[in-house]
């Protein structure tokens, strides 16, 4: 293989598997050296292409799609799905009406945020692992800080609960996930100290300058997270 063809082939694709190229390089050390140089250059080019990706891009791409989805569900779904949805909604509403613990607007928003599909999405955004530093960075906007051993946080995202900006933490408990919401005390509307629906139980309490809401499937688990929060989080100002 002549020099020019060799160089052209390598430059066009430094990872070429062309047997003629491999053979030519074997027989001529200067060709092999050229190949190595080109691979090194390519490694540099590859590294140079790795520009930083905006932190919130994944979040935006997932959110935009869910907005789109909501619009579509309003506009384009055929009538019988709307009917099926209203049947489901009616079932949920009547369940709530005859339920023992009627929930307030805030509480029902809380339940909406701890839906399995929703939680999965949130955990996905955080890639299932959040370090204390970034939890603290987000808590800081509520003047809060974790000082002690709080447990494993798998997701920390801002959420809107009935138009109030809150921080939604998902915490790994012993028997499943527990949700904790942080809201500024000044903005909380009334939410019952203890509330529940068929599957979940929740508790809310004041912690210095913040209102904390904890929701989970298991009462003992919820109480434990509440204790941990009281022991290891401080809110100032």
């Amino acid at each position: 293989m002549d020099e020019l063809t060799f160089r052209r082939t390598i430059y066009a694709d430094p990872n070429t598997q062309d047997p003629a190229v491999i053979e030519a390089a074997k027989q001529d050390p200067s060709k092999q050296a050229f190949w190595n140089d080109t691979k090194a250059l390519d490694a540099q080019i590859t590294a140079a292409t790795k520009v930083p990706v905006p932190d919130d891009l994944v979040e935006k791409l997932l959110l935009k799609q869910s907005f789109e989805d909501r619009e579509r569900s309003v506009n384009k779904r055929p009538w019988y799905i709307a009917l099926a949805a209203s049947v489901a909604l009616a079932a949920v509403l009547s369940f709530n009406l005859i339920g023992l613990n009627p929930s307030t607007g805030l509480a029902s928003d809380v339940f909406a945020h701890v839906d399995h599909a929703y939680m999965e999405k949130e955990i996905m955004m955080s890639a299932g692992n959040v370090d204390m530093q970034s939890v603290n960075a987000k808590l800081a906007s509520f003047n809060g800080a974790i000082t002690g051993d709080f447990g494993e946080v798998v997701s920390a995202n801002y959420c809107y609960l009935d138009k109030i900006k809150s921080l939604h933490l998902i915490i790994k408990g012993e028997n499943g996930l527990v949700n904790m919401f942080v809201i500024p005390k000044s903005l909380t509307e009334s939410i019952q100290e203890s509330f529940s629906n068929a599957a979940l139980i929740g508790t809310s309490f004041l912690l210095e300058s913040a209102k904390i809401i904890i929701v989970g499937e298991d009462r003992a688990e919820v109480n434990k997270v509440q204790q941990n929060a009281i022991n290891s989080i401080t809110f100032s100002g």
Binding site: Y11, L41, A48, V53, L57, L61, V87
Partner: protein, 185 residues
């Protein structure tokens, strides 16, 4: 009758879940490559991000037409290139104030981090006909055949452009070296 309606709602929502899972996997797995490719193609962070958002929105709408996850990369790039082309159509036909037109900032790519700066400058100064196939090969990992199909060129032309792209980068680096500038990898 009551239970039948419920069943329907349930199966619709499980289809939605499946669709959402596929979409989320796509976003998680490919957003970084797709964004980087868009940035190198467009050379403006804000526009690149917009185009990526439009691309994924279209992907979401038509995800049912993607039968083979292995083809997802080329599928997304095809959508992205079409979205990017639409940008120029719009520009051409809309009468806009000059202030409204986003002007590409050549520093967007170069100044992001100091290392690789020289190389980035050279890469972004390549003309688009060379830069695009090179980025498809390097960022997206496309073969010569895949690039040819994507750009609607024949394979020989693609290989020649890839060769020239690297040749120009090498020449530019050597020229810098001759001037006594240091090159950082």
């Amino acid at each position: 009758m009551f239970s039948r309606k419920k069943k329907q709602a349930a199966s619709v929502s499980s289809d939605m879940m499946k669709k959402q899972k596929r979409y989320e996997a796509l976003v998680k797995g490919l957003h970084a490559d797709v964004y980087r490719y868009a940035l190198w193609l467009i050379k403006d962070k804000a526009i690149a991000e917009d185009v990526v958002q439009e691309t994924f929105l279209r992907a979401w709408k038509s995800i049912d037409s993607l039968n083979d996850e292995a083809a997802a990369k080329s599928w997304l790039i095809t959508i992205l290139r079409r979205e990017n082309a639409r940008r120029f159509e719009r520009k051409q036909f809309d009468l806009v104030d000059i202030d409204d037109v986003a002007v590409a900032d050549p520093n967007d790519i170069n100044d992001m981090v100091l290392e690789h700066r020289e190389l980035r400058k050279i890469m972004s100064s390549l003309s688009e006909e060379y830069r695009e196939p090179l980025m498809l090969q390097i960022i997206m990992g496309f073969t010569g055949d895949e690039i040819a199909e994507q750009l609607n060129l024949n394979k020989n032309t693609v290989m020649t452009r890839l060769f020239r792209a690297r040749n120009q980068i090498k020449d530019a680096l050597l020229a810098k070296q001759d001037m006594g500038a240091t090159i950082n990898g």
